[in-house]
Each structure stands twice: as C-alpha cells, then as structure tokens.
C-alpha cells in the first residue's frame, strides 16, 4: 500500500519536473525569437538616415532609394510572421544592391556619415546572425529535452511539439551575385 503511494508520488514529481523543464526551455525559444526582431528593428531604423545620405550624392539612383523606402514601409505594415520575413528579405536585397551601387559614387564612398552607416549596417547583420545562432541553440536545447529518455515519455502527453530551427531560404543559400 505504502509502496504504491511512493511510486505514484515519484511519478507525479517526475511529471512536474519534466513539465517545468520543458516549459522553461520553450519560453526561452520565444525570447530568443524576439531578440532576433530587436536586431532586425535596429537595421530598419538605420534606413532613413542611409536614404538621406545617399540621396545627396546619388540622385540618379531614385529607383533604388524608392525600393528601400518601400521595403521598409512594407515591413512596418507587415502582420503575420510570413509577411515580416518577406519584408525583411526585401530589405536585405535592396541594401545589398544599394551598397554595390555606391561603388560607382566615389564622393559618396568618402562621406563620413555613409561610411559609419555602412559599418553600423554591417555590424547589425552580424548581430542578426548571432541572434539567430542563439535562437537555434535554444531550439536545440528544447528539442533535445523533449526527445531524451525520461522526459520524452511525458513530453507529448503534456502537449509539447518540437520547435523549428531557423533556416535560410533557398534564395539565401545561393551565392551572391553582385551586379553593378
């Protein structure tokens, strides 16, 4: 009789511990995802300044500048995760083109402000990459906990599903072609 009680108590304690461990790991994933957004916002915030600086020197690149401003606007309007991802990719693409095109304007390239912005944007790309790396490590932690032996027994029962790693799109995996 006592043995049965002890066993049941042990199982309940175990479920409690598993649940706490899994939910903590899951919340961390959410936080890591938000941290990526923090860096993406940094990038978006640098764009108006960039557009103003470039306008002064590269008046002929009106189309490109409009593209960037439009990309930024569509990000601010974006609702679902998919829309946001699409908008962020558009920003990445237009930024790449802008910096490639700036090679044609030596005065722009020498401008202090422009150089600083270029550095800031390049650094922000690094930050985005690190934020994604950290996000992946939180996903790995959660997925591992969900699938290793003791916790896996109750993981599914408690309603946890594996999380997804951040993956580059097919477009992003291709090597970059810089067109002048």
């Amino acid at each position: 009789m006592w043995i049965a009680i002890v066993i049941i108590a042990a199982i309940l304690l175990f479920i409690w511990a598993s649940y706490n461990s899994l939910i903590t790991a899951k919340i961390r994933i959410g936080e890591a995802l938000s941290q990526i957004d923090v860096q993406l916002k940094r990038r978006t915030d640098l764009i108006p300044n960039l557009v103003e600086t470039v306008k002064g020197y590269a008046k002929h690149e009106k189309e490109l500048l409009t593209d960037i401003t439009n990309a930024r606007t569509s990000l601010m309007k974006a609702g679902s995760l998919e829309e946001k991802a699409k908008a962020n990719n558009a920003i990445s693409d237009t930024l790449k083109s802008l910096f490639a095109v700036s090679e044609n304007y030596p005065q722009l390239k020498a401008n202090e402000n422009f150089l600083q912005l270029q550095e800031e944007l390049s650094d922000t790309e690094n930050k985005i990459a690190y934020a994604r790396q950290f996000y992946n490590s939180t996903v790995m932690d959660f997925n591992t906990k969900l699938q290793v032996f003791p916790t896996m027994i109750f993981g599914n029962m408690l309603g946890f599903k594996p999380a997804e790693f951040f993956a580059a799109t097919e477009e992003e995996k291709k090597s970059v072609k810089v067109k002048f």
Binding site: Q35, K127, Y130
Partner: protein, 299 residues
C-alpha cells in the same frame, strides 16, 4: 573530440572532482574531530569561518581584481571594434552585455570575472589588442564570456571556500594538538582516538596541499571547458588556437597579476615557466598551451 563532447567531458569531470573533494573534506573533518574527541560543532565553526572569509572575495571579485590590476572601463566610442566584438558575442551567448575594461600592459592577456552574467566584467591588456587580429580577439573574448556563462567565478569561489575550510580545519587541529584540550574519555575510546590522532597529524600536514592541488585541477578543467564553449560560440576554434599561439610566444609576465588573480587570465600570467616534469604541471592554474591549441585544432 568535437566541441560538444569536449564541453560535456569537462562538465562531468568538474563534478567528479568536486564530489571527490567533498568526500575528501568530510573524511578529514571526521578524522580530526574523532582524534580530538570533539563533536561536529567544530566542523561547523570551521566552515563558517572559511565561508565568511572567502565570500567577500567572491562577491566583490570583479571590483577587487580590477582595482588590483588598474584597469579602465571603456565605452563604445573608446574602442568601437572591441565593443562590437563583445556585444555581438554576448548576443550569441544570450547573456547581458558585460562591462569592458582595458589594462595598460604590453603582455597579451585577458580575463573575465563577476559573480554572475548580470555583474560580469571582461578585461583585456593593451598588449593583446596590439597583437591579435579580429578573429583571434573574438576567440579570446568568446573564451572569457564562456567563463561568465558557465558561472566559473562562482564555482571557483565555492572551491576557494572549501580549500580555506580545509586549511582552517588543519590549523585548528594542529593548534589543539599543541595546546592540549580535547576530551579524553574512557580507555576504549582512548585507543581508537590514538589511531585517529596519528592519521590526523598526517592529514593535517598534507591536506592543505592536497586541497590546493584539487583546486588547481578544477581550474584546469574549467579552462578546457571555456575553450570548448568559446569555440561553440564563434564556430571558429582556429581563432582561439591562433591567438593562444601568439600569446605563448610572448614571454613577458603580466605586471598586475597576483597568485589570487592568476586563474582568471586566459593564459598563465606568470610566464617563463616551462612544462618541465609532469608533477610541476599539477601546480598550474592553466593547462599546457600546446595541449589547448591541439584540442582546438582537432574540433
């Protein structure tokens, strides 16, 4: 071995050594108290003394060390490249941005301290900034941030308390031996007491050294662990390997370092010591540099 197995190997080795340490301490505390005929209150007092004396240095570890080496805090505008490196690696590790200090010393070295990631500090010498390229500096900073993330300051703080505890126990035992005191009960107890007494004396002499050796062994495992964790963060172990090579080539010791702070640096700040016999290596806070480079390059 790969990055992940290096990390888990060093983690469980730490806990193995810590467990053996606790067993060791329990044993000698038991022997001493039986030898003197005291009860267990004696152990409690020794632990409290050790705890109080070491707790202060652990809690204020960051300020103490920085004051001793004379480092200056920097802002982003003072060294934007260093600032960005630390900032980005902290993002990668998911820890808050630590404070950054630079110490004026031509010897290339770096350390990190702080009781937890919220109160962390990273310090580099001017020597290291001059010598390393960006990838190498990232490797070094990643190693230092790993010490922060792995709560190594806390661990070494606890170990220091235990080592102090052992030293106090040994000292109290020797004092009581010398000055008398202790209860001598009936004959039966007297005989086993004599045996404990002899064993006790041997332990009292050897245990402080043994405790230090254990402390140094733990320190070395944590260094390997920080190497592996740092490599996992940068995903580029060659950066740190190359940095360690450059640091090893420079024979000058770090001027501000002391015995108490030596274990915090990335490489032994008291340079000019060669590997020598294997047992000399037991007294090192850091593993041999050639080993660290080799392990990193095999990841």
């Amino acid at each position: 071995m790969n990055i992940y197995s290096a990390i888990s190997a060093n983690k469980w080795k730490t806990w193995l050594v810590m467990s053996l340490f606790i067993v060791f301490i329990t044993t000698i505390a038991f022997i001493f108290s039986r030898a003197l005929g005291y009860g267990d209150a004696f152990i409690g007092v020794a632990l409290i003394f050790a705890g109080i004396s070491s707790f202060g240095s652990y809690y204020f570890s960051d300020q103490l060390v920085l004051a001793t080496v004379g480092a200056q805090e920097i802002e982003k505008k003072d060294n934007p490249e260093l600032f960005r490196i630390v900032e980005n690696l902290a993002i990668g590790d998911g820890i808050p941005m630590p404070k950054i200090y630079i110490m004026n010393d031509p010897s290339p070295n770096a350390f990190a301290t702080g009781r937890d990631p919220k109160h962390a500090v990273v310090c580099v010498t001017t020597g290291i900034l001059d010598r390393l390229n960006k990838a190498e500096l990232e490797g070094v900073i990643a190693h230092e941030l790993s010490h922060v993330k792995n709560f190594d300051t806390r661990l070494m703080g606890i170990v220091a308390i235990l080592v102090g505890f052992v030293a106090i126990l040994a000292q109290m035992f020797m004092n009581n031996l010398w000055w008398g005191g202790g209860r001598r009960d009936d004959e039966e107890r007297g005989n086993s007491q004599a045996i404990f007494m002899i064993v006790g004396i041997i332990f009292a002499i050897l245990s402080p050294i043994a405790a230090s050796l254990i402390q140094l062994a733990i320190s070395r495992k944590r260094e390997y662990l920080a190497d592996a964790s740092g490599a996992l963060l940068t995903r580029y172990p060659e950066g740190l390997a190359s940095a360690l090579e450059k640091i090893a080539k420079d024979p000058r010791p770090v001027r501000g370092a002391s015995n108490a702070t030596a274990h915090l640096f990335i490489a032994n700040p008291f340079k000019g010591k060669d590997a020598g016999a294997w047992f000399a290596g037991l007294f090192d806070t850091h593993p041999p540099i050639e080993d660290r480079i080799r392990i990193l390059r095999n990841m």
